[in-house]
Symmetry: C2
């Protein structure tokens, strides 16, 4: 069945019609959505672009996995501030429609999308949104040559309490949630031509953002800085170090490497959506938070005024400099 604007809008409106979050005063159907924050809270906003053949491939990722993964990226950013997600917005460009009022020539549309793909994409997004009480509250649609989804997630956090990247201090311990490298290991297999069934429990296809753990960490006050590991541990730890103006050392043997991954994938693979955080030396950090394993992987070193250095210590070897080799938006280091 061919994709039409009428059917797409009807599908989006039916998902958005069910109230999921009281913060949404007015959802889809006006020039803007209207949201009301709780007293004493600040607004969090994050946007993440997902483009076919850049962030996913139609032949590798089922449509509902694409919808799920898009929203996970935004929710994971809210989690990394210790925030509570409220509403999401979807700007969706799809290969659809005949040449008309839009400026897209019909000849450019190589592969028109079936309605089923759009329906399943929305379903994947919607299932995850429900789980976290996030309301789909607006967006935009358009023709496009490649499937293009920009997901905006809004959230709230008590004023002044968001966990920033810039708070790490010398002596702080570095921790991660969960295990690292799993998503990159699956991607490596997909590149190698292996067929992989997208089981619902597979964290590459259906990654779960660590919203509860992020909130727990904010509420308990010992966390000094936090980021989500979406671009890879080496890149995201470098962000913490840059914003905090500190250096760091991590222990290779301490890194929780996921089954099927190796140290390299755990260090530089992206898309894990775990949290990386720092805490005071004497903080009593539990071994599990909100059901997720917590592992200490290193230490924040001295304050620096120039480019921070991250070192990795491997058993029986001299420590070496760890370069940030994770995800680059334009793939320049590939």
């Amino acid at each position: 069945m061919v994709l039409t604007e009428r059917k797409l809008i009807a599908g989006i409106r039916s998902l958005a019609a069910k109230p999921a979050n009281r913060a949404v005063v007015k959802g889809i159907g006006d020039d803007c959505a209207i949201l009301r924050l709780s007293q004493g809270n600040e607004l969090l906003v994050t946007t993440d672009l997902c483009i076919e053949n850049v962030h996913f491939r139609r032949e590798w990722h089922p449509a509902d996995s694409v919808g799920h993964r898009c929203l996970t990226r935004g929710l994971s950013d809210i989690a990394a501030m210790g925030g509570e997600p409220l509403a999401c917005f979807l700007s969706l460009g799809l290969p659809a429609g005949r040449s008309g009022k839009g400026l897209l020539e019909q000849s450019l549309l190589e592969k028109e999308l079936p309605q089923k793909w759009a329906d399943e994409f929305l379903l994947g997004l919607h299932r995850l949104a429900r789980k976290f009480r996030v309301q789909l509250a607006g967006g935009d649609i358009s023709s496009a040559r490649d499937i293009t989804a920009d997901i905006i997630v809004t959230g709230q956090v008590p004023a002044g309490k968001a966990l920033l990247r810039s708070g790490a201090q010398p002596g702080d311990r570095i921790y991660v949630t969960g295990e690292l490298g799993y998503s990159a290991a699956i991607l490596k297999q997909l590149y190698a031509g292996k067929k992989i069934r997208a089981e619902k429990s597979n964290r590459h296809f259906y990654p779960m953002p660590r919203v509860q753990a992020g909130n727990w960490l904010r509420e308990h006050g010992f966390c000094t800085a936090m980021i989500d590991i979406s671009d890879g541990l080496s890149v995201d730890l470098a962000h913490i170090c840059e914003e905090s103006g500190v250096s760091a050392t991590i222990q290779a043997s301490a890194i929780p490497i996921a089954a099927g991954a190796d140290l390299n994938l755990a260090l530089h693979g992206g898309d894990d959506y775990e949290l990386l955080f720092t805490a005071k030396k004497r903080a009593e950090v539990p071994s599990r938070i909100a059901g997720v394993k917590i592992t200490q992987i290193g230490v924040i070193e001295s304050r620096v005024t120039s480019q921070p250095q991250i070192r990795i210590a491997e058993d029986g070897k001299a420590s070496r400099i760890l370069k940030p080799l994770g995800w680059q938006h334009f793939g320049e280091k590939g």
Copy 2:
């Protein structure tokens, strides 16, 4: 000069570094932006997707016009609620970068973008943002085959005071700001192969959102419903009628047709970014608001439970039904 991620991010950060709005507590550089609304205000959010060859053409529109037009779409939505814009977010996909960590095959990049295009796009967006004290506070970047910009604009409005599409009542008068059809008339000439210089005063290339007029209308309390005319008068008036559950009649002779346009372009052309509003019959609506001409063009008729009817009366003829023939997102009516 070839576009690189480092140069693009440096350009975005330098524009975003200058504080433009006190609501932005934390801008670019963390997992989320943090905004603080004024006491007693609600949040407004709108997103607008701009895709090459759908919303603009590289050979017709200078890069700074594309940046300006993207942001105008969002600001115009804030204006249509009577809101005050605060911060914008930009998700930007550009034809750039070599095959690497991203999944985009190098062979798919037909036309790599020069750095100059990105710089001028950002400049066009930034100039307009400054004018309205809107801070660029976050976003995302990616490789893409076609230039893709999703603009998110956030704003605030005193709680419960936003002007919705749903408030029009039988007997209300229908008004528009400015003149209609100009942008569509220019587009028609571009389609016909005419070269048009993008003068800064040209409302097709550099349309000005009616933010001050929108705020004035909200503050003065006589306005019952409002929408911006982005998809064309016929489509946008239909949205007001649908959301309010009313029918309407407009007078052809009353419509303020822009120089170079005709009735058809004024009725169905999009991209004018004027405001359409309704006001109580006895309201004293000034002939200019915030420097912009105000014209009464029709009347809200009876309440309806089914599909609302919009009629247009032309001098000396029986009135006829006006079909919504403006912009369709997938161009299905073309």
